[in-house]
Chain length 116, copies 2
DNA sequence: GGTATTGGTATCATCCGTGATACTGCTGAC
DNA sequence: GTCAGCAGTATCACGGATGATACCAATACC
């Protein structure tokens, strides 16, 4: 029985860890934002325009959360105060691998549930 | 730039796939339930007692969703009508690997953010 | 007959994530 | 001087996920 388990010990810690992982890219806009920055968009308005339906409020919040989680950096040009650049961190690449696996599983799962 | 990207093409489909993946184990109770069943609990009240704070309503809903996603099976003993058994499917094991990676990443991430 | 157990459903209330809209301060172009 | 663009913040409203509580049918036990 144990071999088919997700994990048996330290449950609460595991659950928190999983919820952390989900939280970092959870919600409605995190992945679209990640994708947008991936595609070369660096500035706030640039990112905003590239994501249909997002509001400045949600973009602002989501960017801050991604920054808090060290997946992106926010850099203000001191010479041109209204120029801000968002960029990926090296650390984000590690997470990228996991995200891709989650995407792959989701597609596999969809086929499994709907189609066969 | 592209090599550090999550993925570039088919964005919307990817986003949906990721949201599917998150949805299947998202929410507050899915993982505690998965864990409980892993630890040998098979019956409704058994699972309920093993998860502090859960209500019958949320357990009922979550179990049905897990069943809809074919991660668990629900079997009613026709001889003893008030005896129901919940069990993992083979398919759930595939997902288990991904869940474990998400847990691992979450722990790593927590250290990264809080510590150092 | 009364009480406990199993496996739930029904009906509210509440909270949090998200949406809608308006507003700000600063800069540069016309 | 006024209008557009950049990078946001503030306030209110809504809806879906969750919580609280009550209730149900069937069986077993004393």
């Amino acid at each position: 029985m144990k071999d088919q388990c997700i994990k048996v010990q330290q449950t609460e810690e595991d659950i928190k860890a999983l919820q952390d992982t989900i939280y970092v890219i959870g919600g409605k806009w995190k992945l679209p934002i990640i994708h947008s920055i991936c595609n070369g968009n660096k500035h706030f308005k640039e990112i905003e325009r590239s994501i249909p339906g997002i509001t400045t409020r949600m973009l602002s919040r989501s960017l801050r959360e991604l920054e808090d989680n060290k997946l992106i950096t926010r850099t203000v040009d001191p010479n041109v105060p209204t120029l801000v650049e968002y960029e990926f961190t090296e650390y984000a690449k590690e997470y990228g691998v996991l995200i891709n696996e989650m995407i792959r599983w989701g597609k596999h799962h969809r086929k499994m549930i709907i189609g066969i």
